[in-house]
Chain length 289, copies 2
């Protein structure tokens, strides 16, 4: 049996009781290490689970899947994923490979940012399509996520923005020389995401293109959701561009239509005492009682 | 401290290790009992947690919140919710009451249907607004959820449909006579939801109103997600109207634009061997490679 086990979002103890029991009994345990991270590292997990973990990076999952599946038809293998196992496409790929090889699989679910984000007080029901915001490079500055946010806002929906994670990236020089030397991991902050969004808003405005987003649009920054030191900050897009929410992981929400109860919840984490004080007046397009 | 603890979706062991530790140390433990259910009852949870649970129905949470909060400023109280604590509005209400009473709160997240639904192979990123389908009565037959599904489909998005739960309902007669006699709980099945949707599709068609949904639209029925006996069934809306997925809880997805990898995953749970065989030909509007 191949077990896909979600680890949740905080630390080693966010695994479920069922998940932990399975980890302890499997013959091999892999840790997926490229779509998300916990606030604790591999060593802390190994110590708590009492098991050696095999780090599975993107290359391994995509190119050496057979290695992961080996023997899973006669013994139990666990594949651990931060959050829930079904956030990222490649795990569907691993499921299909397992099924094609005649290996049974089972999923042990857990919280992921896709549902835990509800802790900020915005209703999960009212989220539209989720978008990803990636680090811009000199030559690649995608803006299409903004059009998705606009579509969501036009329908009154909130948008969860997942922020880029760069793990095991090579510099162009190392890549071209075939040197397996990797850059330090990078995690996009709420402030970086907000700045990028502001830049696009300004560019589009100059071109006469209305994105239905402005400097005053209410957004929510979230850092380390589910961990002890979680931070939630609600404020205008401009305010979030200058906030510091600390270490990774960060995510951001661009709000749509706000229900009064949602406003009351967001006030609990307002960036400044008056950030959401007069929401009714300053941003009435997104708020009706 | 008031702890909101998600129980996940299957049975007693789907609580997180952190959640279980907190349950064991709290002075009082409430179990929210109206937005969802596990495959095991209160007795099984009490035995496994080693704690007495106080059942908190909707009336109690809405009208006797002070009772729940009593003493939570000086001792620890736990409020257990099936799934994740932030699916339902009323828990925001309880958070706000706690904060206003000067009581700190903390959330222990877990899987909920809102993210665990990804196990069927559809990408969570590609879901639009979530809708609820309620039991129709002789006098109340809401159709507005269909318009939301249409909006999602117009954008290529999938729609998660949460199906009605009737717990502690009174008959009209008992309600009018003030008798606290309750009807047995009812849980809408995928088949009932699909039939209701088919009826609306037919009605609208007769009125010349295009819902962008037909008898052949690919839908996914899910039962007891996260439990050992979970069932996933992918097929046309017509096929799902006649399927029997067993005991509660059920949910349904109306698909939008399908990515090839999503189609491959859905084929693993096709209602009939040929349900999704020629998806490319029969439902090309929702599928491009």
């Amino acid at each position: 049996m191949l077990y896909f086990i979600g680890l949740g979002l905080g630390d080693a103890k966010d695994i479920t009781v069922k998940g932990l029991e399975i980890v302890k009994q499997c013959s091999r345990v892999y840790l997926e290490a490229y779509t998300s991270i916990l606030t604790v590292g591999k060593d802390a997990l190994e110590e708590y689970y009492g098991r050696e973990l095999i780090l599975a990076d993107r290359d391994m999952v995509e190119q050496e899947a057979d290695e992961i599946l080996k023997g899973a038809d006669v013994s139990d293998v666990a594949f651990l994923v931060v959050g829930d196992p079904f956030g990222a496409t490649t795990h569907s790929d691993l499921v299909l490979r397992a099924v094609n090889a005649g290996i049974q699989y089972r999923v042990i679910h857990n919280a992921s940012i896709m549902n835990a984000v509800g802790c900020c007080g915005l209703q999960l029901y009212n989220f539209g399509e989720t978008v990803s915001i990636v680090f811009w490079t000199d030559t690649w500055r995608p803006e299409s996520f903004c059009d998705k946010i606009k579509k969501n806002r036009d329908l009154g929906m909130h948008t969860l923005c997942l922020l880029d994670i760069k793990v095991k990236e090579q510099s162009m020089e190392n890549l071209m020389r075939g040197r397996k030397i990797y850059e330090p991991p990078r995690f996009m902050t709420v402030s970086q995401a907000a700045e990028q969004l502001l830049e696009i808003v300004q560019n589009r405005r100059e071109r006469g293109d209305d994105l239905a987003i402005s400097e005053e649009t209410i957004c929510v920054g979230l850092a380390r959701v589910g961990a002890e030191d979680q931070v939630i900050r609600a404020g205008t897009l401009r305010q979030l561009a200058s906030c510091d929410l600390g270490g990774p992981l960060h995510s951001m929400i661009v709000t749509g239509h706000l229900h009064p109860l949602e406003v009351d919840m967001l006030r609990l984490s307002a960036a400044t005492p008056d950030s959401l004080q007069d929401l009714r007046m300053t941003d009435s397009s997104t708020y009706t009682s």
